[in-house]
């Protein structure tokens, strides 16, 4: 709890990162109609996929920053040495990443959806799929951040390492939303979320020990 409060405090005092990643997403969404067509009939079927891809990208791009500070000032070393279970630290970092990166996008989804001419019911399913899917993105992003923290060009490396792992989430999330909530995809997405929740923090903890010995 204390760890989570600290993360939120740090985030609120320097909101630039979260705002930038949100701005990035809105901007990218605004570019698509310019590049493709303003015609609502052609934009509407693309909406769910585009917003999902943009969410995925902005999560990937923000991931390395969420750990770089702790690595540079030595907090990460102290967290690894602390009496707290390391998996819990990693889980909290993932939650913080989710709050700073995915949550603002989730809240903006109705506006983004409107920009892409999506009807309300599709926006609702889109948001539902993001609620279930985006935590998986954050868990994987934290794993990637831990793998690359302290390396040269970690911000370029991280998406290469992690994007393939996000494919199932992307597929299940977009399918669930486009099929209007077909139960099978929803269950699978929920199962994937549970699986990621119970495994990835431990994997990230293993990597954290490697990261501090660099």
């Amino acid at each position: 709890m204390m760890l989570l409060l600290r993360e939120l405090k740090i985030m609120l005092r320097s909101p630039a990162g979260a705002i930038q990643s949100l701005m990035f997403s809105v901007l990218v969404i605004a570019l698509f109609p310019l590049a493709i067509t303003p015609d609502p009939d052609q934009l509407e079927p693309l909406g769910i996929g585009l917003i999902w891809v943009v969410t995925l990208l902005s999560c990937l791009l923000a991931a390395d920053k969420s750990l770089a500070g702790d690595y540079a000032d030595g907090s990460l070393e102290q967290m690894v040495l602390s009496d707290y279970p390391l998996w819990w630290v990693c889980l909290v970092k993932s939650m913080a990443h989710w709050v700073s990166c995915a949550l603002p996008l989730l809240l903006m989804a109705p506006i983004l959806g409107a920009m892409l001419a999506m009807p309300l019911d599709r926006i609702v399913w889109l948001m539902a799929s993001l609620v279930l899917g985006s935590p998986i993105l954050s868990l994987f992003c934290m794993l990637g951040a831990m793998l690359t923290v302290g390396l040269n060009q970690s911000s370029a490396l991280l998406p290469i390492l992690i994007a393939p792992f996000l494919v199932p989430t992307l597929i299940l999330g977009t399918q669930w939303a486009t099929t209007g909530g077909e139960a099978f995809y929803g269950y699978m997405l929920a199962a994937l979320l549970c699986l990621s929740l119970v495994t990835l923090p431990f994997a990230t903890a293993v990597v954290a020990k490697i990261a501090v010995s660099r």
Binding site: R6, G74, D83, S213
Partner: protein, 194 residues
């Protein structure tokens, strides 16, 4: 007690040190001496348990506290918040008064409610060092803790360290400056490129 037995460490094919032996008893200090690149920081990381690729044995009979070149002070948080966090990492709960006293000892009373980004490098280091006053760890691993501090800061730090030794603690430290108070401490010398 802290004991090092035939400790060797290679990094990327380069031998940092070989067959180090040392034994530090409660109440004793040990200074790690060596030029830049001789492996001091790696040795500290090994002693702290952050670095595991070594041969030999390290025996520590008590909890340790490691302060390295990067000492864990976040720029967005105030000195009090930082100190609270660092202490809570080791599950130490304290009355707020004690926390203030520790910061006051390191002459930080005036800067308590501004983010550490506004502090100088030396002041940030003092925030991390204030932890020493409150910790229950018996082994202190201070890698270059005296650098970036001004003369009064160094004086406070050596007082705190001496009190720690007097109460039966163990101090392992490295320093490029001479610290007169610890001139008599045992030394462990690391050579470059052996």
């Amino acid at each position: 007690m802290l004991q090092i037995e035939s400790l060797s460490c290679f990094r990327q094919d380069r031998c940092l040190f070989k067959d180090l032996n040392a034994k530090v008893l409660p109440g004793q200090a040990l200074q790690i001496v060596g030029e830049n690149g001789s492996g001091k920081t790696t040795l500290f990381k090994i002693l702290a348990g952050l670095f595991e690729e070594y041969d030999g044995r390290v025996i520590t009979a008590a909890g340790s506290l490691y302060l390295g070149h990067r000492y864990g002070v976040n720029d967005q948080l105030t000195p009090v918040e930082n100190l609270k966090f660092l202490l809570k990492l080791n599950e130490i709960q304290l009355a707020p008064g004690l926390l203030m006293d520790a910061l006051a000892r390191f002459q930080l009373s005036a800067e308590l409610d501004q983010p550490c980004a506004a502090l100088s490098e030396g002041q940030k280091k003092r925030v991390a060092l204030a932890r020493l006053i409150l910790t229950s760890a018996r082994i202190w691993l201070l890698d270059e803790a005296f650098s970036a501090l001004d003369a009064p800061g160094r004086a406070v730090l050596s007082e705190v360290c001496q009190a720690h030794l007097a109460s039966g603690g163990i101090l392992i430290f490295s320093s490029h400056q001479g610290i007169p108070e610890f001139a008599a401490a045992a030394q462990l010398r690391l050579e470059v490129g052996s």
